[in-house]
Protein backbone atom coordinates (compact mmCIF):
# COMPACT_ATOMS: atom_id res chain seq x y z
CA UNK A 1 0.00 0.00 0.00
CA UNK A 2 2.74 2.42 0.95
CA UNK A 3 5.25 3.15 -1.73
CA UNK A 4 8.75 2.85 -0.28
CA UNK A 5 10.39 4.18 -3.44
CA UNK A 6 9.39 7.68 -2.33
CA UNK A 7 11.54 7.16 0.75
CA UNK A 8 14.43 5.51 -1.07
CA UNK A 9 14.52 7.96 -3.99
CA UNK A 10 14.55 10.98 -1.72
CA UNK A 11 16.42 9.50 1.21
CA UNK A 12 19.18 12.12 1.12
CA UNK A 13 16.61 14.90 1.28
CA UNK A 14 14.86 13.29 4.24
CA UNK A 15 18.18 12.71 5.94
CA UNK A 16 19.29 16.31 5.46
CA UNK A 17 16.06 17.47 7.12
CA UNK A 18 16.35 14.88 9.86
CA UNK A 19 19.89 16.04 10.69
CA UNK A 20 18.75 19.65 10.91
CA UNK A 21 15.79 18.70 13.09
CA UNK A 22 18.13 16.94 15.51
CA UNK A 23 20.57 19.83 15.45
CA UNK A 24 17.84 22.42 16.09
CA UNK A 25 16.48 20.25 18.92
CA UNK A 26 19.85 19.87 20.64
CA UNK A 27 20.77 23.54 20.35
CA UNK A 28 17.22 24.44 21.38
CA UNK A 29 17.42 22.19 24.41
CA UNK A 30 20.74 23.57 25.63
CA UNK A 31 19.62 27.14 24.97
CA UNK A 32 16.26 26.73 26.64
CA UNK A 33 17.83 25.01 29.64
CA UNK A 34 20.31 27.84 30.19
CA UNK A 35 17.69 30.56 29.75
CA UNK A 36 15.24 28.55 31.86
CA UNK A 37 17.65 28.25 34.79
CA UNK A 38 18.45 31.96 34.67
CA UNK A 39 14.78 32.94 34.56
CA UNK A 40 13.85 30.51 37.33
CA UNK A 41 16.55 31.85 39.62
CA UNK A 42 15.47 35.40 38.81
CA UNK A 43 11.91 34.56 39.74
CA UNK A 44 12.80 33.32 43.21
CA UNK A 45 15.84 35.49 43.97
CA UNK A 46 15.28 37.88 46.90
CA UNK A 47 15.54 40.89 44.58
CA UNK A 48 12.24 42.38 43.49
CA UNK A 49 13.09 43.77 40.02
CA UNK A 50 14.53 40.36 39.09
CA UNK A 51 11.28 38.72 40.18
CA UNK A 52 9.33 41.06 37.95
CA UNK A 53 11.50 40.42 34.92
CA UNK A 54 11.38 36.67 35.46
CA UNK A 55 7.61 36.63 35.93
CA UNK A 56 7.01 38.88 32.93
CA UNK A 57 9.15 36.60 30.75
CA UNK A 58 7.40 33.41 31.78
CA UNK A 59 3.86 34.76 31.65
CA UNK A 60 4.30 36.57 28.35
CA UNK A 61 6.22 33.97 26.38
CA UNK A 62 4.22 30.92 27.34
CA UNK A 63 0.95 32.63 26.53
CA UNK A 64 1.78 33.51 22.93
CA UNK A 65 2.11 31.12 19.97
CA UNK A 66 5.57 29.87 19.05
CA UNK A 67 4.78 30.81 15.45
CA UNK A 68 4.73 34.53 16.32
CA UNK A 69 8.10 34.27 18.04
CA UNK A 70 9.53 32.45 15.03
CA UNK A 71 8.12 34.99 12.55
CA UNK A 72 9.38 37.79 14.78
CA UNK A 73 12.95 36.53 14.54
CA UNK A 74 12.70 35.70 10.87
CA UNK A 75 10.93 38.70 9.32
CA UNK A 76 10.52 41.11 12.25
CA UNK A 77 14.11 41.59 13.34
CA UNK A 78 15.42 42.46 9.85
CA UNK A 79 13.28 45.59 10.12
CA UNK A 80 15.68 46.73 12.84
CA UNK A 81 18.74 45.48 10.98
CA UNK A 82 19.26 42.00 12.44
CA UNK A 83 19.37 39.27 9.82
CA UNK A 84 18.96 35.62 10.82
CA UNK A 85 18.33 32.70 8.48
CA UNK A 86 15.37 30.37 8.93
CA UNK A 87 17.29 27.74 10.85
CA UNK A 88 18.88 30.19 13.29
CA UNK A 89 15.71 32.25 13.75
CA UNK A 90 13.63 29.12 14.32
CA UNK A 91 16.08 27.57 16.75
CA UNK A 92 16.34 30.77 18.81
CA UNK A 93 12.54 30.98 18.88
CA UNK A 94 12.36 27.36 20.07
CA UNK A 95 14.85 28.04 22.86
CA UNK A 96 13.09 31.19 24.02
CA UNK A 97 9.65 29.60 23.93
CA UNK A 98 10.62 26.35 25.64
CA UNK A 99 12.64 28.24 28.26
CA UNK A 100 9.44 29.72 29.70
CA UNK A 101 8.12 26.22 30.43
CA UNK A 102 11.46 24.95 31.70
CA UNK A 103 11.78 27.97 33.99
CA UNK A 104 8.42 27.10 35.55
CA UNK A 105 9.43 23.46 36.02
CA UNK A 106 12.70 24.46 37.66
CA UNK A 107 11.02 27.02 39.89
CA UNK A 108 8.56 24.38 41.08
CA UNK A 109 11.51 22.08 41.76
CA UNK A 110 13.41 24.67 43.74
CA UNK A 111 10.35 25.63 45.77
CA UNK A 112 9.85 21.99 46.65
CA UNK A 113 13.16 21.97 48.54
CA UNK A 114 12.34 22.90 52.16
CA UNK A 115 13.02 26.56 52.94
CA UNK A 116 14.99 25.67 56.06
CA UNK A 117 17.81 24.34 53.91
CA UNK A 118 18.45 27.71 52.31
CA UNK A 119 18.44 29.37 55.72
CA UNK A 120 20.80 26.77 57.12
CA UNK A 121 23.16 27.13 54.16
CA UNK A 122 23.10 30.92 54.40
CA UNK A 123 23.75 30.89 58.14
CA UNK A 124 26.69 28.56 57.62
CA UNK A 125 28.30 31.36 55.62
CA UNK A 126 27.40 30.61 52.00
CA UNK A 127 26.21 33.45 49.75
CA UNK A 128 22.78 33.19 48.14
CA UNK A 129 24.23 32.04 44.82
CA UNK A 130 26.59 29.55 46.47
CA UNK A 131 23.74 28.08 48.49
CA UNK A 132 21.66 27.85 45.36
CA UNK A 133 24.41 26.07 43.45
CA UNK A 134 25.67 23.74 46.16
CA UNK A 135 22.55 22.93 48.14
CA UNK A 136 19.27 23.75 46.44
CA UNK A 137 19.81 23.09 42.72
CA UNK A 138 21.27 19.56 43.08
CA UNK A 139 18.14 18.47 44.92
CA UNK A 140 15.78 20.38 42.66
CA UNK A 141 17.29 18.80 39.55
CA UNK A 142 15.95 15.38 40.51
CA UNK A 143 12.41 16.70 40.72
CA UNK A 144 12.61 18.71 37.53
CA UNK A 145 14.17 16.13 35.22
CA UNK A 146 10.89 14.44 34.20
CA UNK A 147 9.04 17.68 33.37
CA UNK A 148 12.08 18.97 31.52
CA UNK A 149 12.19 15.71 29.59
CA UNK A 150 8.59 16.28 28.56
CA UNK A 151 9.47 19.78 27.44
CA UNK A 152 12.27 18.33 25.35
CA UNK A 153 9.80 16.05 23.59
CA UNK A 154 7.60 19.08 22.94
CA UNK A 155 10.63 20.92 21.63
CA UNK A 156 11.41 18.19 19.11
CA UNK A 157 7.80 18.26 17.91
CA UNK A 158 7.70 22.06 17.87
CA UNK A 159 10.90 22.21 15.82
CA UNK A 160 8.63 21.43 12.85
CA UNK A 161 7.87 25.14 12.89
CA UNK A 162 11.16 25.58 11.02
CA UNK A 163 9.34 24.18 8.01
CA UNK A 164 7.27 27.36 7.74
CA UNK A 165 10.24 29.75 7.75
CA UNK A 166 12.44 27.76 5.34
CA UNK A 167 14.49 26.37 8.23
CA UNK A 168 15.54 23.29 6.18
CA UNK A 169 14.25 20.80 8.76
CA UNK A 170 12.43 17.50 8.31
CA UNK A 171 9.04 19.16 7.89
CA UNK A 172 10.42 21.57 5.29
CA UNK A 173 12.06 18.88 3.18
CA UNK A 174 9.05 16.59 3.54
CA UNK A 175 6.99 19.38 2.08
CA UNK A 176 9.45 19.90 -0.75
CA UNK A 177 9.47 16.19 -1.62
CA UNK A 178 5.68 16.11 -1.63
CA UNK A 179 5.27 19.20 -3.78
CA UNK A 180 7.81 17.91 -6.30
CA UNK A 181 6.49 14.36 -6.53
CA UNK A 182 2.77 15.16 -6.13
CA UNK A 183 2.66 12.39 -3.53
CA UNK A 184 1.42 13.48 -0.13
CA UNK A 185 0.16 10.50 1.85
CA UNK A 186 3.30 8.37 1.72
CA UNK A 187 5.64 11.33 2.05
CA UNK A 188 3.99 12.56 5.24
CA UNK A 189 3.80 9.04 6.68
CA UNK A 190 7.58 8.80 6.36
CA UNK A 191 8.05 12.26 7.85
CA UNK A 192 5.89 11.11 10.76
CA UNK A 193 7.98 7.97 11.23
CA UNK A 194 11.16 10.03 11.34
CA UNK A 195 9.67 12.15 14.12
CA UNK A 196 8.53 9.05 16.01
CA UNK A 197 12.07 7.65 15.81
CA UNK A 198 13.09 10.66 17.88
CA UNK A 199 10.12 11.16 20.18
CA UNK A 200 9.10 7.61 21.14
CA UNK A 201 12.49 6.68 22.68
CA UNK A 202 12.51 10.05 24.43
CA UNK A 203 9.06 9.36 25.87
CA UNK A 204 10.18 5.99 27.18
CA UNK A 205 13.37 7.54 28.54
CA UNK A 206 11.44 10.21 30.41
CA UNK A 207 9.06 7.63 31.86
CA UNK A 208 11.98 5.46 32.93
CA UNK A 209 13.66 8.40 34.66
CA UNK A 210 10.38 9.34 36.28
CA UNK A 211 10.06 5.89 37.78
CA UNK A 212 13.70 5.67 38.85
CA UNK A 213 13.76 9.10 40.43
CA UNK A 214 10.49 8.43 42.19
CA UNK A 215 12.00 5.32 43.73
CA UNK A 216 15.08 7.16 44.99
CA UNK A 217 13.05 9.11 47.56
Amino acid sequence: MIDFSILIDHFDTYLEGFKNTILASIIGLIGSFIIGVIIAVMRIAPIKPFNWIGTAYVEFIRNIPLLIIAFFFYVGLPAVGIQLNGFVAGTIALAIYTASFIAEAIRAGILSVPKGQMEAARSSGLTYLQAMKAVILPQAIKIVIPPIGNQFINLVKNSSILGIIAGLDLMYFGDIVSSHTFVTFDVYIFVGLFYLVLTIPLSYGVRYLERRLARSY
Binding site: E59, P65, S160, I161, I164, G192
Partner: protein, 216 residues
Amino acid sequence: MDFAGALSADHLKFLADGFWVTLSIAFISILLSFIIGILLGTLRYAQIPVVSRVVAIYVETIRNMPLLLIIFFTFFALPEVGIKLTVTQAAITALTVFESAMLAEIVRGGLNSIDKGQIEAARSSGLTYIQTLWHIVMPQALRRMVPPIVSQFISLLKDTSLCVIIALPEFMHNAQIIYAQNVNYIIPIFILVAFMYFIVNYALSLVARRLESRQA
Protein backbone atom coordinates in the same frame (compact mmCIF):
# COMPACT_ATOMS: atom_id res chain seq x y z
CA MET B 1 7.77 51.40 12.05
CA ASP B 2 4.33 52.75 11.34
CA PHE B 3 1.99 52.09 14.25
CA ALA B 4 -0.77 54.42 13.08
CA GLY B 5 -0.89 52.93 9.58
CA ALA B 6 -0.59 49.35 10.77
CA LEU B 7 -3.30 49.66 13.39
CA SER B 8 -5.90 51.60 11.40
CA ALA B 9 -9.57 51.02 12.16
CA ASP B 10 -10.06 48.88 9.05
CA HIS B 11 -7.07 46.72 9.90
CA LEU B 12 -8.26 46.26 13.47
CA LYS B 13 -11.64 45.13 12.21
CA PHE B 14 -9.98 42.67 9.85
CA LEU B 15 -7.84 41.35 12.71
CA ALA B 16 -10.91 41.06 14.94
CA ASP B 17 -12.54 38.85 12.28
CA GLY B 18 -9.49 36.60 12.37
CA PHE B 19 -9.43 36.52 16.13
CA TRP B 20 -13.05 35.43 16.19
CA VAL B 21 -12.23 32.54 13.84
CA THR B 22 -9.34 31.52 16.13
CA LEU B 23 -11.60 31.57 19.19
CA SER B 24 -14.43 29.64 17.50
CA ILE B 25 -12.20 26.97 15.97
CA ALA B 26 -10.35 26.48 19.26
CA PHE B 27 -13.61 26.29 21.19
CA ILE B 28 -15.25 23.74 18.91
CA SER B 29 -12.06 21.67 18.88
CA ILE B 30 -11.71 21.62 22.67
CA LEU B 31 -15.34 20.51 23.05
CA LEU B 32 -14.90 17.65 20.59
CA SER B 33 -11.50 16.79 22.09
CA PHE B 34 -13.04 16.64 25.54
CA ILE B 35 -15.66 14.14 24.46
CA ILE B 36 -13.23 11.96 22.53
CA GLY B 37 -10.55 12.40 25.19
CA ILE B 38 -12.90 11.06 27.87
CA LEU B 39 -13.71 8.04 25.73
CA LEU B 40 -10.08 7.30 24.89
CA GLY B 41 -8.80 8.01 28.39
CA THR B 42 -11.42 5.78 29.98
CA LEU B 43 -10.82 2.97 27.52
CA ARG B 44 -7.11 3.08 28.23
CA TYR B 45 -7.70 3.24 31.99
CA ALA B 46 -10.18 0.38 32.01
CA GLN B 47 -7.53 -2.14 30.85
CA ILE B 48 -9.81 -4.02 28.50
CA PRO B 49 -7.69 -6.57 26.64
CA VAL B 50 -6.72 -5.52 23.09
CA VAL B 51 -8.94 -2.38 23.14
CA SER B 52 -6.88 -0.57 25.79
CA ARG B 53 -3.69 -1.61 24.03
CA VAL B 54 -4.90 -0.26 20.69
CA VAL B 55 -6.02 2.99 22.29
CA ALA B 56 -2.64 3.30 24.03
CA ILE B 57 -0.77 2.89 20.76
CA TYR B 58 -3.03 5.43 19.07
CA VAL B 59 -2.68 7.99 21.86
CA GLU B 60 1.10 7.59 22.10
CA THR B 61 1.57 7.86 18.34
CA ILE B 62 -0.46 11.04 18.06
CA ARG B 63 1.07 12.63 21.15
CA ASN B 64 4.54 12.07 19.78
CA MET B 65 3.89 13.69 16.40
CA PRO B 66 4.16 17.39 15.60
CA LEU B 67 0.75 19.04 15.29
CA LEU B 68 1.97 20.79 12.15
CA LEU B 69 2.42 17.40 10.49
CA ILE B 70 -1.07 16.31 11.57
CA ILE B 71 -2.56 19.45 10.01
CA PHE B 72 -0.66 18.87 6.76
CA PHE B 73 -1.63 15.24 6.77
CA THR B 74 -5.32 15.89 7.40
CA PHE B 75 -5.64 18.41 4.63
CA PHE B 76 -3.18 17.25 1.99
CA ALA B 77 -2.86 13.49 2.47
CA LEU B 78 -6.28 12.23 3.59
CA PRO B 79 -7.90 13.08 0.22
CA GLU B 80 -5.60 10.43 -1.31
CA VAL B 81 -7.47 7.80 0.68
CA GLY B 82 -10.85 9.33 -0.03
CA ILE B 83 -11.36 11.46 3.09
CA LYS B 84 -12.06 14.93 1.78
CA LEU B 85 -12.40 17.80 4.23
CA THR B 86 -12.87 21.52 3.68
CA VAL B 87 -10.31 23.88 5.22
CA THR B 88 -12.44 24.51 8.30
CA GLN B 89 -13.27 20.82 8.73
CA ALA B 90 -9.62 19.88 8.29
CA ALA B 91 -8.52 22.46 10.86
CA ILE B 92 -11.05 21.23 13.42
CA THR B 93 -10.28 17.58 12.69
CA ALA B 94 -6.51 18.00 12.99
CA LEU B 95 -6.72 20.03 16.19
CA THR B 96 -9.24 17.57 17.66
CA VAL B 97 -7.17 14.49 16.79
CA PHE B 98 -4.08 16.00 18.40
CA GLU B 99 -5.79 17.56 21.39
CA SER B 100 -7.99 14.56 22.21
CA ALA B 101 -4.85 12.43 22.55
CA MET B 102 -3.49 15.02 24.99
CA LEU B 103 -6.78 15.10 26.90
CA ALA B 104 -6.95 11.30 26.96
CA GLU B 105 -3.79 11.32 29.04
CA ILE B 106 -5.21 13.97 31.37
CA VAL B 107 -8.37 11.90 31.77
CA ARG B 108 -6.36 8.76 32.47
CA GLY B 109 -4.22 10.67 34.98
CA GLY B 110 -7.39 11.97 36.64
CA LEU B 111 -8.87 8.49 36.87
CA ASN B 112 -5.61 7.04 38.18
CA SER B 113 -5.51 9.65 40.91
CA ILE B 114 -8.69 8.26 42.46
CA ASP B 115 -7.97 5.92 45.36
CA LYS B 116 -8.31 2.28 44.28
CA GLY B 117 -9.87 1.49 47.65
CA GLN B 118 -12.97 3.38 46.61
CA ILE B 119 -13.38 1.16 43.58
CA GLU B 120 -13.11 -1.97 45.66
CA ALA B 121 -15.57 -0.62 48.20
CA ALA B 122 -18.06 0.30 45.49
CA ARG B 123 -17.67 -3.06 43.78
CA SER B 124 -18.18 -4.98 47.01
CA SER B 125 -21.32 -2.95 47.69
CA GLY B 126 -22.75 -4.49 44.54
CA LEU B 127 -22.10 -1.90 41.79
CA THR B 128 -20.84 -3.18 38.45
CA TYR B 129 -17.50 -1.97 37.10
CA ILE B 130 -19.18 0.43 34.68
CA GLN B 131 -21.46 1.77 37.39
CA THR B 132 -18.48 2.29 39.69
CA LEU B 133 -16.65 4.12 36.95
CA TRP B 134 -19.55 6.43 36.15
CA HIS B 135 -21.00 7.03 39.59
CA ILE B 136 -17.92 7.00 41.80
CA VAL B 137 -14.67 7.50 39.92
CA MET B 138 -15.53 9.76 36.98
CA PRO B 139 -17.30 12.58 38.89
CA GLN B 140 -14.31 12.99 41.22
CA ALA B 141 -11.78 12.66 38.44
CA LEU B 142 -13.59 15.21 36.27
CA ARG B 143 -13.25 17.84 38.96
CA ARG B 144 -9.50 17.26 39.12
CA MET B 145 -9.23 17.45 35.35
CA VAL B 146 -10.66 20.92 34.98
CA PRO B 147 -7.46 22.93 35.58
CA PRO B 148 -5.29 20.90 33.18
CA ILE B 149 -8.06 21.06 30.60
CA VAL B 150 -8.11 24.86 30.83
CA SER B 151 -4.33 24.76 30.29
CA GLN B 152 -4.85 22.59 27.22
CA PHE B 153 -7.34 25.12 25.93
CA ILE B 154 -4.60 27.76 26.16
CA SER B 155 -2.29 25.50 24.12
CA LEU B 156 -5.05 24.96 21.61
CA LEU B 157 -5.63 28.70 21.16
CA LYS B 158 -1.92 29.10 20.46
CA ASP B 159 -1.79 26.04 18.21
CA THR B 160 -4.68 27.27 16.07
CA SER B 161 -2.16 29.72 14.59
CA LEU B 162 -0.52 26.76 12.82
CA CYS B 163 -3.61 26.47 10.61
CA VAL B 164 -2.18 29.47 8.78
CA ILE B 165 -0.49 26.88 6.53
CA ILE B 166 -3.82 25.75 5.10
CA ALA B 167 -5.01 29.37 4.77
CA LEU B 168 -7.64 29.17 7.49
CA PRO B 169 -8.69 32.83 7.87
CA GLU B 170 -7.64 32.95 11.52
CA PHE B 171 -5.82 35.62 13.51
CA MET B 172 -2.25 34.96 12.32
CA HIS B 173 -3.36 34.62 8.71
CA ASN B 174 -5.15 37.97 8.68
CA ALA B 175 -2.14 39.52 10.41
CA GLN B 176 0.06 38.26 7.56
CA ILE B 177 -2.21 39.80 4.94
CA ILE B 178 -1.89 43.17 6.68
CA TYR B 179 1.85 43.20 7.20
CA ALA B 180 2.46 41.99 3.66
CA GLN B 181 1.39 45.46 2.51
CA ASN B 182 4.24 47.31 4.13
CA VAL B 183 7.48 46.33 5.88
CA ASN B 184 6.87 49.04 8.46
CA TYR B 185 3.72 47.25 9.59
CA ILE B 186 5.49 44.03 10.56
CA ILE B 187 6.64 44.84 14.09
CA PRO B 188 3.54 46.83 15.14
CA ILE B 189 1.31 43.97 13.95
CA PHE B 190 3.46 41.39 15.75
CA ILE B 191 3.21 43.39 18.96
CA LEU B 192 -0.56 43.65 18.67
CA VAL B 193 -1.07 39.97 17.83
CA ALA B 194 1.22 38.80 20.63
CA PHE B 195 -0.51 41.13 23.06
CA MET B 196 -4.00 39.90 22.14
CA TYR B 197 -2.93 36.29 22.61
CA PHE B 198 -1.29 37.20 25.87
CA ILE B 199 -4.36 38.92 27.32
CA VAL B 200 -6.74 36.07 26.53
CA ASN B 201 -4.38 33.27 27.53
CA TYR B 202 -3.15 35.00 30.65
CA ALA B 203 -6.73 35.51 31.79
CA LEU B 204 -7.41 31.82 31.15
CA SER B 205 -4.27 30.78 33.04
CA LEU B 206 -5.44 32.83 36.03
CA VAL B 207 -8.75 30.96 35.90
CA ALA B 208 -6.87 27.64 35.79
CA ARG B 209 -4.78 28.65 38.80
CA ARG B 210 -7.82 29.79 40.74
CA LEU B 211 -9.53 26.46 40.11
CA GLU B 212 -6.40 24.59 41.10
CA SER B 213 -5.95 26.43 44.37
CA ARG B 214 -9.60 25.99 45.25
CA GLN B 215 -9.19 22.25 44.91
CA ALA B 216 -5.98 22.06 46.91
